[in-house]
Amino acid sequence: MILFEVFLNGILLGGSYGLIALGLNLQFGVARILNLSYGEYLMGGAFTAFFAVMLWKVSPFLSLLVSLPIAFAMNWLIYRYLMVPLVRRAPDQDALDADVVLVTFGLLFICQGWALVYWSGDLRGYSFLATPVHILGATVALNRLLSFLGACALALGLFYLLRHTRFGAALRAITIDPVAAGIVGVDVQRTSALAFATGGALAAISGMLISMFISFSATTGVEYTLKALIVVIMAGVGRVTGTLAAGLLLGVVEALGGYLIDPGLTIAINFALFTLVLLLRPTGLFTRA
């Protein structure tokens, strides 16, 4: 029974992982930029929610009014003014990758350093809707359930956007081939910038969602970037449903591994999973061959 409860908690956590990875996948799949500072916007979203609850005494959901526009605008600016010059200058994808890795690592350090200076390195957390809910005999916290539902709703919304709107069709076209998309009349740069910014906004939302039940600090961003990356690589670049499934898988593996082996080894377990996928199926688990 306790195993089922652990499993269920893994699923609920995995929903958030799926959402976090969706944002990164949007950036990586459409704009072809691997943003290693991605987790910092998640950390920013979590801190804004914390301030909303502790300082302004309002619901953490209202913090999105602040964090969402900031994350969106920051990521749009980063793409437009930091990444586009690199894309123009790069002779090939390898050279671009190296530049992007360095710049986004630099952004990671700047954001993290800034947060450490102004918000300190202490572990933060707040209590919101921490009431028990019973599902099939297992007990889970309401905030975890709420965060899972929020993640699912957003993922569905994104799925609808990608499958049933013109903008979504343009995004999918760029994911498949940016040059061909340009030929058939998609404004590749503008659309990529929007996708990149939307990815950053998703990071801020997921930061707010997970801050309801996980404590965080100024340095947690990196950890979630790594997790999001593991999920994206497991799922395959540019896959929406695959990303959600891989997120759930990661959540369950992490929860079960922590329970059955040792909670101190969760990163090691995640990373072992990542390495296995990378070595055995580098194109992702959920891609068509």
């Binding site: 390898d94 990758d97 710049v103 630099g106 990356l229 090691a268």
Partner: protein
């Protein structure tokens, strides 16, 4: 150039006889960074496989020393650290050097975290303590000389390798691995051997530095800041020249001496800004710039290159004047 290098090395070797122990310890950190950055650039600078596993190998060296120095003489423990670093990198290299670009970067980044967590878990689970004490009586001056020697050997070694077949093979891999393979380079062997060589230097440096610590734990040994600082030093200096990383390490160590003690978080921001500045304004590092200045400085004194005899310069000027006249120009 060679004479200057030798004179500089002798001067640095004699330095501890004249300066305070604080200066010696700053230089120890500098040499460690120079050796690490040179070793990093030896593999990653030439092949463009950007590795963030420096801290993993460095920490391996620290841990080997911390565990082994109880059972054997310090010199043997240091050698053992280098050997273990080599073997660990050999295994990791064989399984992962087929990853390219971003995947390799992320893999090596995660590797450090993995080793960190596993060792921490192991220590708590089986040794009931997270830290290990180091008891040695090695003086700071011996550490100074050892690290100076390692740094010099690393620089001279990567200069030497850049002139033999192995160096050409490494650069060929960096430019285009498929082409390198088709022209007969055994890319896997070259990559794995050089990766392991560079890792063994990193492990050795870690082991030597560990002699200065009273105790170590997994978060000291496997701190990924080492990976980033070394990467920045190498890129700032210029990873394509054997002496470039050494040039980059100097300002970085000074910056960290200045900031890390009093404003540790600002050091992170400064590192981040360094990354951004390098990519946008110094794509090849400082070394190519310095090389150009050096050549400009030497050029007037170099008789073969620019100093042409007066008669031929006069003849050239006359010819130019004649052709202007023919063209009907007045100036």
């Amino acid at each position: 150039m060679g004479v200057l290098f030798a004179l500089g090395a002798v001067a640095l070797a004699l330095l501890p006889l004249f300066v305070s122990s604080y200066i010696i310890s700053v230089f120890i950190v500098l040499y460690a960074n120079v050796a690490l950055a040179t070793a990093w650039a030896f593999f990653s600078g030439t092949t463009r496989y950007i590795s963030l596993a420096t801290a993993a190998f460095f920490g391996t060296g620290i841990y080997v020393l911390a565990v082994a120095h109880v059972y054997m003489p310090v010199a043997v423990a240091l050698a053992l650290a280098a050997v273990v670093g080599f073997l660990v990198a050999l295994v990791i290299g064989l399984s992962t050097l087929r990853l390219r670009g971003v995947y390799f970067v992320v893999f090596t980044f995660g590797l450090t975290e993995l080793v960190h967590q596993v060792i921490n878990w192991w220590d708590i689970r089986f040794n009931k303590t997270a830290s290990r004490y180091i008891f040695t009586d090695v003086s700071n001056t011996s550490i100074y000389w050892t690290l100076l020697a390692v740094a010099l050997i690393a620089i001279v070694g990567s200069w030497y390798v850049s002139r033999i077949r192995l160096g050409y093979a490494l650069r060929a891999i960096g430019e285009d691995e498929t082409v390198a393979r088709h022209t007969g380079v055994d890319t896997t062997r070259v990559k794995v051997i050089c990766f392991a060589l560079s890792a063994s230097v990193m492990a050795f440096v870690g082991a030597v530095l560990a002699l200065r610590y009273p105790y170590v734990d997994a978060s000291i040994a496997f701190n990924s800041n080492w990976s980033f600082q070394v990467l920045i030093a190498a890129l700032l200096g210029g990873p394509t020249r054997p002496w470039g990383p050494a040039v980059g390490a100097i300002p970085l160590v000074m910056l960290s001496e200045f900031l890390a003690g009093t404003f540790p978080h600002h050091f992170g921001i400064a590192l981040g800004l360094c990354f951004v500045v390098i990519v946008y304004f110094l794509p090849g590092g400082v070394a190519p710039l310095l090389e150009r200045w050096w050549q400009a400085l030497r050029a007037p004194r170099d008789p073969g290159a620019t100093h042409t005899p007066f008669s031929s310069r006069l003849a050239a000027r006359l010819r130019a004047g004649a052709s202007r006249l023919e063209a009907g120009g007045r100036t």
